[in-house]
């Protein structure tokens, strides 16, 4: 399997009035053709900023260094006009709130056909036809009539479908979806996850799904990467990480999630709070909250190292992770 996206040593830094904040640090990963990668982390983990950086969508005070190669082209080295040739064509991104991503004063059919006129140099008539086909494909009923609706006339789920249709119009190699179902009701979320599965398979698009919801990860992703305080702390196949996590943070996240066996019982939360990026703890950023922390965790930061076939973790502790071990 060829890699469509190769990220090397990505750093994202924001300059504030009293110094700099590193939102993403030394992030490296690859995304295979047609693969689905889940990027998991809590607020402030850097999971969204890493991908906004690749899309050239960082806030003005942000800057990114490192490499993000999309089929060989380093996106971070491109000027904004060069980047425009790729955005929407071979890499696309959709967001949590579709209402703020759509132009409220343009009919949705027009918003879609614009993409094709621009990237594919199609005629107005052909692009309009293709837009309707795509709306139909993502499950919008009466697509030809709906094409002349404005975004506010659609429900939240329909708007997210329009966003997906727009993102997939040019059959991009990579689709980045940032919390795409978080704002939706659970029955609509189920429809949407199903749609992602079908469409990425049909178009051969590799999908990056950024989420905090481990349920979404389990149902959709092939591989996952867990981020904490700006760094990847564990990466690997979904089954490996769910059934045999190597990093205590991954372990903690899995055990904080209520599920059938925990009904009426105590959950095992991760103690404490995520650190402020401005005042990161020394050594491993997770050590103040870690039940397995050892003296060296305070002094030195563990590197992301191989912990089995196709998986890695950044942790000094190599024993078994269990609640019993944690208590000792």
């Amino acid at each position: 399997m060829a890699n469509v996206l190769e990220v090397e040593n990505l750093d994202v830094t924001f300059s504030l009035h009293d110094g700099e904040v590193h939102a993403v640090r030394e992030l490296s990963f690859v995304l295979g053709e047609g693969e689905t990668l889940a990027v998991v982390g809590e607020s402030g983990s850097g999971k969204s900023q890493a991908f906004l950086a690749m899309m050239g969508l960082l806030a003005r005070n942000g800057r990114a260094t490192g490499k993000a190669k999309l089929a060989g082209t380093d996106l971070l080295a491109l000027s904004s006009s060069e980047l425009d040739k790729h955005r929407g064509l071979d890499i696309a991104m959709i967001f949590q709130d579709p209402m703020t991503s759509l132009n409220p004063s343009l009919k949705i059919g027009k918003q879609l056909s614009e993409v094709l006129v621009r990237h594919r140099h199609m005629s107005e008539a052909d692009s309009a036809k293709r837009a309707i086909e795509m709306l139909d494909r993502v499950g919008i009923p009466e697509a030809s009539r709906r094409a002349s609706s404005y975004p506010h006339e659609l429900s939240g789920g329909m708007r997210q479908r329009v966003m997906i249709a727009m993102a997939l119009l040019c059959e991009p190699k990579v689709l980045i979806a940032d919390e795409p179902t978080t704002a939706l009701d659970v029955t609509v979320q189920a429809q949407m996850l199903d749609l992602f599965k079908t469409l990425t398979a049909d178009f051969g698009t590799a999908l990056v799904i950024i989420t905090h919801d481990l349920g979404v990860v389990a149902g959709l992703a092939d591989r996952m990467m867990v981020m904490y305080a700006g760094r990847a702390v564990e990466a690997g196949g979904v089954d490996d990480l769910f059934y045999d996590p190597k990093h205590p943070y991954t372990f903690g996240l899995l055990h904080s999630t209520p599920h059938v066996e925990t009904s009426g019982q105590r959950l095992s939360p991760i103690d404490g709070l995520p650190p402020s990026l401005e005042h990161l703890p020394t050594g491993c950023a997770f050590h103040p909250r870690c039940a397995f922390a050892m003296p060296e965790c305070r002094k030195e930061r563990p590197k992301l190292t191989d912990r089995g076939p196709k998986r890695s973790a950044a942790c000094f502790y190599e024993g078994t992770l269990s609640e019993k071990e944690a208590a000792q």
């Binding site: 809590e42 607020s43 009923p141 429900s155 939240g156 789920g157 329909m158 009701d185 659970v186 029955t187 609509v188 979320q189 189920a190 429809q191 996850l193 199903d194 905090h212 919801d213 481990l214 349920g215 979404v216 990860v217 389990a218 149902g219 979904v238 089954d239 769910f242 059934y243 903690g252 996240l253 899995l254 055990h255 904080s256 999630t257 209520p258 599920h259 059938v260 925990t262 009904s263 009426g264 105590r266 959950l267 095992s268 939360p269 991760i270 103690d271 709070l273 995520p274």
Partner: protein, 337 residues
């Protein structure tokens, strides 16, 4: 359930909102709740679940008389709260408290944490001295896991999880009997969510609280509740003890809702068959005739459009509102969620 009188007895509550459509035009009506009845016993946790617009928050507010229902009764220890005058209701306020979803938005940014937590005492228990109030504030801060030295800080200095602890301390300080928790963990990160859920169950046991837990998250509701009310478009469609509801849902909507919850278990997630519902929730201004769920129901037949199904007993301690619940083949639902 024993033959005790329920602590809270909600009877046929209906809440209608008028929506202004313009000058001299007849306002539209939105029936947010229609004929809702259930009981809550002392020490019990009742979960209320449903998707957006189902009326779950409105129901919480109607119970606390923050909204006045148009019809029906809310019996609190046998007394109907809907008929009370505001100053009579005030006497009950110390027993009935609420925790909100957005912890920061529900705290006054210009008051110190101590002031916020103390506020209900000043208004509801004026007989207490300043010194007694202060001591109580510190006791509550400790109970919810806040350091007493934070007493003079302001809300913006706190994270979401800590702010929710402040909200919980404020609700607890009058020693209430019942707390309505309206989506108390939805705005929080997973690891913090677990801390707050544990705290709530700890406090429930310690102070013998009765909780009404409103959430859209079925995994969370399952985790905390003894019994569960499922709402759809302002109607109660199923009401059952927790395990019965999750293991053997009777209403097609409950079943669809349960299978739609993503399971945090990859192998289970791959095997699972999702009962996918068509479309989205209709507008509550113009709900479908008959059964409100029929427009999305895979089992709908003509009678569902003609007649609204009454809520009827579907077993011991449980009820359902569906014309066809007896005929529908209930497959066991694999719900790890």
């Amino acid at each position: 359930m024993t033959a005790q009188t329920p602590m809270l007895d909600v009877q046929n509550v209906t809440k209608v909102f008028g929506i202004a459509t313009g000058f001299m035009r007849k306002p539209l009506t939105l029936t947010a709740l229609s004929d809702i009845s259930f009981q809550v016993n002392e020490g019990e946790t009742l979960g209320i679940v449903g998707e957006s617009g189902c009326g779950k928050s409105t129901l919480g507010r109607c119970i606390l008389q923050l909204l006045t229902p148009e019809e029906g009764k809310v019996l609190w220890l046998g007394q109907d709260l809907t008929t009370l005058k505001p100053d009579e209701m005030r006497k009950h306020r110390r027993d009935l408290q609420i925790i909100f979803q957005d912890p920061l938005a529900s705290l006054n940014p210009r008051m110190t944490v101590g002031g916020i937590i103390e506020d209900p005492l000043r208004t509801l228990m004026p007989e207490m001295s300043q010194k007694q109030r202060r001591a109580k504030v510190i006791e509550m801060m400790e109970a919810v896991g806040l350091l007493p030295e934070m007493i003079n800080r302001y809300p913006h200095e706190f994270s979401g999880g800590q702010a929710q602890r402040i909200g919980i301390a404020r609700a607890l300080i009058t020693e209430p009997k019942l707390i309505v928790c309206d989506e108390p963990v939805s705005a929080l990160d997973v690891s913090i969510q677990a801390q707050i859920l544990n705290l709530l169950s700890e406090l429930r046991d310690r102070f013998n609280l009765t909780l009404i837990f409103i959430s859209h998250d079925l995994s969370v509701v399952r985790h905390v509740s003894d019994r569960i009310v499922v709402l759809y478009l302002g109607r109660m469609i199923e009401y059952a003890p927790r395990d019965e509801l999750y293991n053997d849902p009777k209403h097609p909507y409950t079943r669809a809702l349960l299978t739609a919850v993503p399971v945090p278990d990859p192998k289970l997630a791959r095997q699972r068959k999702i009962t996918e519902l068509r479309g989205e929730i209709p507008s509550p201004i113009n709900p479908p005739s008959g059964c409100a769920f029929r427009s999305r129901c895979p089992y709908a037949i003509p009678v569902c459009a003609e007649k609204r199904p009454e809520i009827e007993s579907s077993g011991e301690l449980r009820s359902v509102a569906c014309h066809r619940w007896r005929e529908i083949e209930v497959e066991p639902v694999a719900t790890g969620g």
